[in-house]
């Protein structure tokens, strides 16, 4: 099982290394979102600092939507998914492998976004462990539900427009909890950062459970 | 008084939405039924039973 997961993950990362879609398309898009927000709140720079936590998660969420779309686009062509299934790989292995690869790519997106925030909005971090834990949990959760919904819409003609509609509401708890945790870690709010991070972890576990249960029905006839 | 306006628009909106949806459903059923040739409107037949496909 783990060997299969690793196989799929490595395949996706190899595709990414060759095509560099995440690096030269998704990362710039996400950075552009930051710049657009900077334009929008130009009149009130203090607002940008206060909203940096939320901005990070909004940007990463959009990155995850694009990443999930990309991750299943490479499978939609030429019936790749069927080929993988016929090759004897279990649906769960395919899903987790792709989720792992997506998580790695999302981590890269998150790092670039964070760097962008530091440069553009001059944020300072007051609580590193909290920030990193929240970032890891949230990015992983995005990757998993991105893959779930990517699998759900793979090969559909209107997948481009449907995927955000399906994905964003489900990712909203991550957005909410992640923002609150980041606000605390960046020193802009007096909330309870660790209980929000705990909620993030819970959301992550729930998505893992759902993914586990849904992999079969989703991929067997996708 | 604002409460009166809000209470009545709440009731009116609810009624309007339910009636509009119900009308749409019934109309659509009528159109589909006509296209499929399952009897004229108001024949009082249940398509679930009148059509051989579902009576098995």
């Amino acid at each position: 099982m783990w060997r299969e997961v690793w196989l799929i993950c490595r395949k996706d990362l190899t595709v990414e290394r060759r095509a560099r879609v995440t690096l030269i398309q998704i990362v710039p898009t996400v950075l552009l979102i930051l710049v657009v927000f900077a334009f929008a709140f130009d009149a009130n720079p203090s607002l940008l600092g206060a909203g940096a936590g939320g901005l990070f998660w909004v940007a990463v969420l959009f990155g995850a939507v694009l990443g999930a779309k990309r991750s299943f686009d490479i499978e939609a062509e030429g019936g790749n998914l069927d080929a993988l299934r016929l090759g004897g790989l279990s649906p769960a292995a395919i899903l987790w492998g792709k989720a792992m690869a997506l998580a790695v790519q999302m981590a890269a997106v998150a790092v670039f976004t964070a760097a962008g925030l530091v440069v553009l909005f001059s944020v300072t971090v007051t609580d590193w462990p909290l920030l990193l834990t929240a970032a890891v949990c949230g990015t992983a959760a995005f990757a998993i539900c991105g893959c779930l919904y990517g699998a759900m819409t793979v090969g559909l003609r209107s997948a481009d427009t449907l995927l955000p509609l399906l994905l964003i509401p489900v990712a909203a708890p991550v957005l909410l909890a992640g923002t609150r945790a980041f606000d605390v870690a960046l020193g802009t709010s007096a909330d309870q950062g660790w209980s929000w991070t705990a909620l993030l972890a819970v959301v992550l576990i729930t998505y893992v459970a759902v993914g586990w249960a849904a992999a079969g029905p989703l991929l067997e006839d996708a | 008084m604002t409460w009166a306006a809000n209470v009545f628009s709440g009731y009116a909106l609810t009624a309007a939405a339910v009636v509009a949806y119900a009308t749409w459903v019934v109309r659509r059923g009528r159109v589909l039924g006509r296209d499929l040739g399952i009897g004229p409107a108001g024949a009082g037949t249940d398509p679930g039973r009148s059509h051989p496909e579902t009576s098995q």
């Binding site: 007096a190 309870q192 705990a198 909620l199 819970v202 576990i205 729930t206 459970a209 586990w212 249960a213 | -």
Partner: protein, 187 residues
């Protein structure tokens, strides 16, 4: 409609497939059990972990206790309005809210909603701490709460309005001030 499905019988599956299916079913049952456990654990953790998480407002006593951490940041404050403390002066409404026997003096700069009129109504206020000497029913205080948005938090109690039994504004809700060390001013 013509039935286009194949008419011939399917050959019986070999035993190995049967065995595998049984095994698969057992694995599926295990996975389902695992998932149920995870979901229960997740639910329990959410409830336990977030019971205390302040999502929407801080009660008056907590707002006082956390005054140093809150600094001049905006937050929401919840408490019941003391009817005898309400005073309106050129667009600014001043009053006190009480929760858990802690009283906060409030200066509210916008017209309050209609239901603010009813005695001992719980309200949620948006604003922050401002330094300034004030006197509340509980004694002297060094800060008041400067608010610019008021929401009435209506309770889940529904009682028919009764013309004969107009509630006495001096009478706080049952048990609300029982253990408090101070006397509430009367109208």
């Amino acid at each position: 409609m013509t039935d286009l499905s194949p008419r011939h019988l399917l050959p019986a599956e070999p035993d190995r497939a049967d065995a595998r299916r049984v095994l698969g079913r057992r694995r599926k049952a295990m996975i389902v059990g695992f998932v149920v456990l995870l979901v229960i654990a997740a639910g329990a953790a959410t409830v336990a972990g977030l019971r205390n998480a302040t999502l929407f407002f801080r009660n008056a006593d907590e707002a006082i206790a956390e005054r140093v951490e809150l600094g001049d940041r905006r937050f929401r404050l919840q408490g019941r309005v003391v009817p005898a403390s309400v005073a309106v002066d050129t667009g600014v409404t001043t009053f006190e809210v009480i929760h858990n026997c802690a009283s906060v003096s409030v200066r509210h700069s916008v017209d309050p909603p209609d239901l603010f009129e009813s005695p001992w109504i719980p309200v949620v206020l948006e604003g922050r701490w401002v330094q300034g000497d004030v006197v509340t029913v509980a004694g002297r205080d060094t800060h008041f709460f400067s608010s610019d948005n008021m929401l009435v938090k209506h309770t889940n109690e529904y009682v028919a309005a009764n013309e004969d039994r107009v509630p006495d504004p001096n009478e706080p809700p049952e048990g609300f001030l029982d253990d408090c060390p101070f006397e509430v001013p009367r109208l």
